[in-house]
């Protein structure tokens, strides 16, 4: 690799050719503040906060460190009076058109703009006065709101939606001072083919984008003595939640989370991982059936509601490829209000079923058709990981000093196969563990499928199973899903089984997970750290195959019969609808 030598604030550093100044400075241990820059997502140099001085023969010039590539012999100065003054002015300009109601802002204390003001000792946020925008909040979508009075037009959300997810339902409208991020023709987000992934929220540096919150509703249900309130938590929540309480990225706080939920007042604390094991039972069975009976292949997973919605909007002609299995959240919700309700002797109408998810599309999913196994909604409220953290803080729990507790039976026990559902490739690996044993009738010596692990956007593998070559593919992000789906549509796809997750890196990086500021995200692989924690959780489990879960065996024996049975179909399967692109 061609290396380039330069000096940052006099510190010599050698970096690969093409490296941007911001990364070279990081190498030299120098932090250059940024606002619009998000590595690999948004590199448009629009905010001008990262300006640095580059020494030149005809005087020093100010350049954006996020976009300027290094040159041999370059001398960069990141903290001269000129640089600091330029940043301060730019920040003052941003603040002059920013709704500075920070105290009541959802991002108060976690806002990248606020942090920047803090770092730069901003002592005059009203230096420039003048016209200011106070546009109405777009609350038309089921999963999120947009408050453009807090928007700083960094365009991270636009880049994420357009370039990474390749959906592009948001963009810049109008121009100049009147520029606003929104949908085409200034329609509400809810009127578009937005898939509700929430990746825009995940990358927003301020409080302009946030999920529709149901904390109040859930706390009210808990306070209602007539309601039996149960909660389930998705695999990824346990490896994200800790970040909100000062734990390093990739810390598994499963035990403290269960304890916290119990102390908030939930009557039962269940685990979506049980639903994940159930999903594997049904999905592996469906796959084996499709292989045996010449059904539509490749079969594609249906756990990710953002992906399902994407497929409905953009590939409505390919819906037969989707597994009919409900997602783990919905299976968990369905058995809560059928199997558990019956066992506990509670009328399903009196159960309030709450889920905690790393996901905003789950807020959409609970309102879909065909998600009412007991005649009432399988899941009533979805909270994101961020909302759970806010809830824990609101009820006054000292999270870090909580004991480690476990989930409640009879639908709280899970396997290592279930917990890896949160990472890209995890569903595929879990399904393979069960499908391979089903097809071969033999027990796998090592239930690991390393080929489908890792952070690449698209992974492929071929396994020889009982004399048959099984070709699989795994994709995360809808941008990568598009590549897979175009091949399927064209009839050139070689695969039998495909896993697709809507968010880049899978649910660990979902739109409902704690937001990681760009200052960390630009230099750390966040989805990988969280996924690693899931795989460690898997390693620690004695049972790592869904079909070996005793509680799963019991629910089939007591209630469902066998995978794919009529009851299973009624409770655990669903259908899809073609939707338009708009």
């Amino acid at each position: 690799m061609d290396m380039v030598n330069l000096k940052v604030n006099g510190i010599s550093v050698s970096v690969p050719k093409g490296t941007k100044i911001v990364a070279a400075a990081h190498e030299a241990g120098v932090k250059v503040p940024t606002l619009c820059y998000l590595k690999g997502v948004n590199e448009i140099a629009s905010c001008r906060i990262c300006m640095v001085e580059v020494v030149g023969p005809r005087g020093n010039s100010l350049v954006p460190a996020c976009a300027q590539p290094v040159k041999e012999g370059m001398e960069v100065l990141t903290n001269t009076p000129r640089v600091l003054d330029a940043r301060r002015r730019t920040l003052q300009l941003i603040l002059s058109d920013h709704n500075k109601k920070c105290l009541s802002c959802v991002r108060n204390g976690k806002c990248e703009l606020q942090e920047l003001c803090h770092e730069m000792n901003m002592d005059d946020e009203d230096h420039f006065k003048g016209a200011q925008h106070l546009p109405p909040v777009d609350d038309s979508a089921v999963h999120m709101d947009r408050d453009n009075s807090k928007c700083i037009l960094c365009r991270r959300c636009v880049s994420m939606c357009t370039n990474i997810q390749q959906i592009g339902v948001i963009g810049a409208n109008n121009r100049g001072f009147n520029t606003q991020i929104g949908c085409a023709f200034e329609r509400g987000l809810g009127e578009t083919s937005c898939v509700s992934c929430g990746q825009c929220i995940a990358v927003c540096p301020t409080g302009a984008l946030y999920e529709k919150s149901y904390i109040d509703e859930v706390l009210a249900a808990i306070a209602d003595p007539k309601k039996h309130v149960v909660v389930q938590t998705a695999p990824s929540v346990r490896v994200g939640l800790g970040e909100e309480f000062g734990y390093p990225i990739g810390t598994d706080v499963e035990g403290k989370m269960a304890a916290a939920l119990r102390r908030i007042g939930f009557d039962k604390v269940f685990d979506t991982d049980f639903g994940a094991d159930l999903t594997i039972m049904e999905e592996a069975n469906e796959f084996v059936e499709r292989v045996k009976t010449g059904g539509v292949l490749p079969m594609i997973t249906s756990c990710s509601p953002g992906w399902v919605k994407y497929c409905e909007h953009y590939y409505p002609d390919q819906l037969a490829h989707l597994s009919t299995c409900k997602s783990p959240q919905q299976m968990q919700g369905a058995v809560t209000k059928t199997y558990y309700a019956k066992k506990a002797g509670i009328d399903p109408k009196d159960i309030v079923s709450v889920s905690v998810m790393p996901c905003t599309a789950k807020k959409f999913e609970i309102g879909r058709d065909g998600q009412e196994a007991a005649g009432v909604k399988d899941v009533d409220y979805v909270l994101t990981t961020r909302e759970l953290a806010r809830m824990i803080k609101r009820v006054g729990l000292d999270f870090r000093s909580l004991p480690d507790e476990t989930f409640d039976d009879p639908i709280g026990e899970s396997t290592g196969a279930a917990v890896i559902f949160g990472a890209t490739g995890g569903v595929m690996e879990a399904a393979l563990r069960t499908a391979v044993e089903t097809l071969t009738g033999e027990t796998l010596a090592r239930p690991e499928f390393h080929e489908v692990r890792g952070q690449e956007g698209i992974k492929e593998a071929t396994y020889n199973v009982a004399g048959m070559e099984v070709k699989v593919a795994v994709a995360s992000s809808t941008g990568n899903a598009r590549k897979i789906m175009d091949q399927i549509r064209a009839g050139t796809a070689p695969w039998h089984f495909v896993e697709i997750m809507c968010c880049p890196g899978g649910c660990v990086n979902g739109g409902g997970q704690p937001q990681v500021p760009a200052s960390i995200r630009n230099f750390v692989n966040v989805p990988k750290l969280r996924a690693d924690a899931l795989y460690r959780n898997n390693e620690a489990k004695t049972i790592r195959k869904s079909h070996e879960n005793p509680s799963i065996k019991k629910i089939y024996a007591d209630f469902l019969g066998k995978p794919g049975s009529e009851t299973a179909h009624h409770v655990l399967h669903t259908h899809y609808v073609p939707r338009e692109v708009c």
């Binding site: 448009i44 140099a45 629009s46 905010c47 001008r48 906060i49 300006m51 100010l62 954006p64 976009a67 300027q68 590539p69 330029a86 002015r89 730019t90 300009l93 941003i94 002059s96 058109d97 230096h127 420039f128 006065k129 003048g130 016209a131 037009l153 365009r155 963009g171 810049a172 109008n174 121009r175 100049g176 001072f177 009147n178 520029t179």
Partner: protein, 613 residues
């Protein structure tokens, strides 16, 4: 068509056809807005009625330059120059001039008949005689709808010679040697640009013509496109050959429908003649050109924004590097030149770099077209050698200020440029001299201002334009220019303090240094240069709450001089706000609270008793 002989034969035929007939050239550029199409129709009708159809040809030409005299008609031979012609005057011209051989003196441009003994030809008048037309050489002389007329004036010969006699690198070298600099604004050396594009290994490459003329008041590119579209096609094809490209795009504003139509016709004709498209002049070289219409955003004149717009995205500039020569349109190497730049190229090929270099100054070779407007007698297009002084353009060519007014300043470079005060009337109009005094060449807009112009107001006018046209991508331009405008509004309303002036200067320097693209970086220029040369006017607004030019309404006071007022009541009767009181034959008074500052009282006072200040 393959050989030079074939091309020259076509040229000779076209020349003969043009010489055979009396030609009535009607300016159908900007003059269409003052009725030149009706004039054309009238000529055609009257000529047919007079039975002259086989002897006289009516030609719709591109812009002739002297727009304030439009519609303009020129009759050849003789270069007889009629101005302000309407359809009612046509009959007489046909009868007396075309039939009787006697020009109708009363309709001729006055200067041409100042000497009762002779009639000056158009080219001999003050407006035209100091001009040197290279980019505009065919405008007003040929029909832009006929490729033969372009060929009659050496058209496509340069392309033939390039394809058959020159290597691509020789052409690039000629461009470098000529010293030609981009006419679109920044003045980047054209040869260097071509060399960079030619050096790129990646293919396909694109050759693009920037015809998104956005400076308010500038219309030289439009004139070339409307008056001489083939020169752009020929030059782009030469550029394609020189840099190894086979695809051209012309990005033209949709607000130029005539230009678009004439380009479409020209492209079609060039295809049919085999000088564009596949296997040009049967040399095996392919080059084709597509039109892309812009939606009229000023920022799309910026190279990277223009390319983004061609790609179908929102027209916004992007951070450089990489340069467009390396990664431009569709992330491929791209060569972008402006219309006026291209218009020079075929002649440079035919006459050589030394010929071109001999025109203009050392650092700025060739000529420049200026669109002159504002408080000036001869508004229109003026093409002069680089280095011609501002005084020559304003006084010798454009006839000075109307009503013998005093020159106060001129704005060059449009909203990105700066003002030049009277002290610098002798500045040479070239890239470097203009830059040295805080202005810029820009695309060649030249707005003349007299003493009735308020320089704060003019800075505000340009800034309003920039604020409106900012793409909204980067913070300094999006918010900073708006904050500048907020301050300028305060100043012109008499609400600003000296602290605001400090903030204004702070913003100027911040936006210049921190904006993403050239448009943002140059947006404060009108304020910077008016502050440099007319700071006292800003201070008068801020400290004295006074607009010296009497333009800023909030600061203007109309007062009645009691010694002069006769009490005629005219002012009171004409005041729409009923702000004037007084008895008949007694001095009147204006209620400043009610006064709308409309000036009706002043214009109705017969005794000069009302003053403004």
């Amino acid at each position: 068509m393959k050989t030079l002989e074939e091309l020259l034969k076509l040229k000779a035929e076209a020349q003969a056809a043009m010489a055979q007939k009396t030609r009535v050239l009607v300016c159908c550029g900007g003059c269409t807005s003052s009725g030149s199409l009706k004039v054309t129709a009238a000529f055609e009708k009257e000529i047919a009625a007079a039975g002259l159809a086989d002897k006289v040809q009516v030609v719709k030409t591109g812009c002739m330059g002297l727009c304030s005299q439009g519609p303009i008609v020129v009759i050849q031979p003789g270069n007889i120059f009629y101005s302000h012609i309407d359809e009612l005057k046509v009959g007489k011209i046909v009868n007396e001039h075309l039939m009787g051989g006697k020009p109708v003196k009363e309709f001729l441009y006055p200067e041409t008949v100042a000497d009762p003994d002779k009639i000056l030809a158009m080219a001999e008048t003050n407006f035209y005689k100091k001009q040197l037309c290279l980019a505009l050489r065919n405008c007003g002389h040929i029909s832009p709808l006929h490729i033969e007329e372009y060929i009659a004036r050496d058209g496509y010969e340069a392309l033939w010679r390039c394809l058959n006699e020159k290597k691509p690198e020789e052409i690039v070298q000629t461009m470098i040697d000529s010293g030609l600099r981009g006419r679109g604004g920044a003045g980047f050396p054209t040869g260097k640009k071509w060399l960079l594009a030619a050096q790129q290994k990646e293919t396909p490459k694109y050759v693009i013509c920037n015809a998104d003329e956005g400076d308010p008041g500038a219309f030289m590119d439009r004139s070339v496109l409307e008056g001489d579209p083939h020169v752009i096609l020929e030059a782009m094809t030469i550029a394609g050959y020189a840099t190894g490209s086979h695809h051209g795009y012309i990005y033209v504003r949709a607000e130029y429908p005539i230009a678009v139509q004439r380009l479409e016709i020209a492209i079609d004709q060039a295809h049919k003649l085999g000088v564009l498209g596949k296997n040009i002049f049967e040399t095996g070289f392919d080059f084709d050109i597509e039109l892309r219409l812009g939606a009229g955003a000023f920022v799309c004149g910026e190279g990277s924004a223009l390319m983004t717009s061609i790609e179908g995205n929102r027209g916004e500039p992007r951070q450089k590097p990489p340069r467009s020569a390396e990664k431009g349109l569709f992330q491929k190497p791209s060569l972008l030149n402006n219309v006026e730049t291209y218009a020079n190229i075929p002649q440079i090929i035919l006459k050589g770099a030394d010929w071109f270099k001999a025109i203009g100054t050392e650092g700025s070779t060739g000529t420049k077209v200026f669109a002159v407007g504002g408080k000036i007698n001869n508004t229109g297009l003026v093409e002069v050698p680089m280095g011609t002084t501002l005084r020559e353009v304003v006084y010798d060519i454009c006839g000075g200020i109307p009503g013998g007014g005093k020159f106060k300043a001129a704005q060059t470079g449009g909203p990105s440029g700066g003002c030049i005060p009277a002290d610098h009337l002798d500045v040479k109009m070239d890239f470097d001299s203009l830059k040295k005094i805080g202005s810029m060449m820009g695309s060649g807009g030249l707005i003349v201002m007299d003493e009735h112009t308020c320089m704060v107001d003019i800075a505000k006018f340009f800034l309003e334009f920039t604020v409106d046209e900012s793409c909204g991508k980067c913070v300094p331009c999006r918010i900073g220019t708006r904050r500048m405008l907020d301050i300028l509004n305060k100043i012109t309303m008499g609400q600003a303090t000296m602290e605001d002036l400090d903030k204004l200067e702070e913003l100027c320097s911040h936006i210049q240094q921190n904006s993403l693209c050239g448009l943002g970086q140059s947006a404060p220029n009108p304020v910077v240069s008016t502050l440099k040369y007319f700071r006292d006017e800003y201070i008068a607004h801020i400290v004295d709450k006074r607009c010296p030019a009497g333009v800023c309404k909030k600061l203007v006071r109309y007062t009645i001089d009691k010694t002069k007022c006769k009490g005629c009541t005219m002012c009171a009767r004409n005041c729409p706000a009923v702000a004037i009181s007084g008895s008949i034959r007694q001095p009147h008074e204006i209620d400043q609270v009610k006064c709308l500052k409309c000036g009706a009282c002043m214009s109705n006072c017969k005794f000069g008793a009302i003053s403004k200040g």
